[in-house]
């Protein structure tokens, strides 16, 4: 165990700004990217469903 207190952990020996700056952006991108990828699939699925609905309406 390297850290005496949570505060020491966040301070990162004076390098907190840089360490969290890089880990933060990394985490952010790695959260946003999958969400965007999933959203892309959701969007196309939604439009497919809408199309299907329109088709069933057409045939009625």
């Amino acid at each position: 165990m390297n850290w005496e207190s949570p505060a020491a952990f966040f301070a990162m020996g004076g390098y907190g700004f840089y360490v969290w700056g890089s880990f933060g952006v990394c985490a952010l991108l790695m959260i946003v990217e999958p969400i965007m990828a999933n959203r892309r699939r959701k969007d196309i699925l939604r439009s497919l469903r809408r199309e299907r609905l329109a088709e069933t309406l057409d045939t009625q």
Partner: protein, 250 residues
């Protein structure tokens, strides 16, 4: 027997059968990624000792190096799939290449970003025109070029083929660029810190980096598979099998 295998292979090479397979694989890769991330981050922050030269700042290495490795590795894989798609006209492999590009670009960006945020405390500058940094930057441009080219072409088949040519030309060029930059740099290089001369890494650090690299790898596979599923749906939107999918019918 071997005949059977070929048939199987082709079966999974069609978007239709790959779509559900990918769907089933994604959670596994997420699971693996999560495990490796937890272990890797634990080692990065709690096991790996403080570096006697760089203090705690060096912990950036645990994401910096995996991101840099992945950015290069993904480019190779992407070019491989794109080339396969061009040669054999297999739609799925082209889709795979297209799905990998944004992830690769993000990895390249992360290696630049984390490097810059490392460089500031270590070298006192966000950026120096070092060979490795510069070639990472150019790699990022190559990704962006690939993505922009495909985005600019409306016809999916044409986008695949044009992208493949670009990716292949890029593969030939990446080593050329790398060595030219290296040579350019070493001829002039002044005082900036040389990475290769860094003190040999402690084994825990090495382990941490390797496990984090595995985590990045699993993560990339999971995202790329998610994205390729979206691409399959977009491209095959008009086909019967897509219309018959449970997700669509519900």
């Amino acid at each position: 027997m071997s005949n059977n295998k070929i048939i199987n292979w082709f079966k999974y090479a069609s978007p239709q059968s790959f779509y559900p397979v990918a769907g089933r694989m994604i959670p596994w890769f997420w699971g693996l990624a999560a495990i490796f991330f937890v272990v890797g981050l634990y080692i990065s922050f709690f096991v790996a000792p403080t570096d006697f030269q760089q203090g705690e700042g060096y912990r950036i290495i645990f994401i910096h190096v995996p991101a840099a490795w992945m950015s290069m590795f993904i480019y190779l894989v992407m070019a491989f799939w794109a080339g396969l798609g061009l040669a054999l006209n297999t739609r799925l492999s082209s889709m795979m290449a297209q799905a990998l590009a944004p992830t690769g670009a993000i990895m390249a960006f992360l290696s630049l970003w984390t490097g810059a945020w490392w460089g500031k405390p270590m070298w006192g500058a966000w950026w120096v025109w070092d060979a490795r940094l510069t070639s990472a930057l150019i790699l990022f441009f190559l990704y962006i070029g690939f993505i922009a080219l495909q985005a600019a072409i409306d016809d999916a088949r044409r986008a695949d083929k044009a992208g493949a040519i670009l990716a292949l030309v890029g593969v030939v060029n990446v080593p050329i660029i790398y060595f030219s930059v290296k040579w350019w740099n070493t001829l002039h290089q002044g005082a900036s810190v040389s990475l290769t001369k860094a003190p040999s890494m402690a084994t825990t650090m090495l382990w941490g980096m390797l496990i984090m690299a595995l985590a990045f790898w699993m993560y990339s596979i999971a995202v790329a598979l998610t994205r390729v599923r979206a691409i399959i749906l977009e491209r095959e939107a008009h086909t019967e099998w897509v219309k018959e999918l449970p997700e669509v019918k519900q």
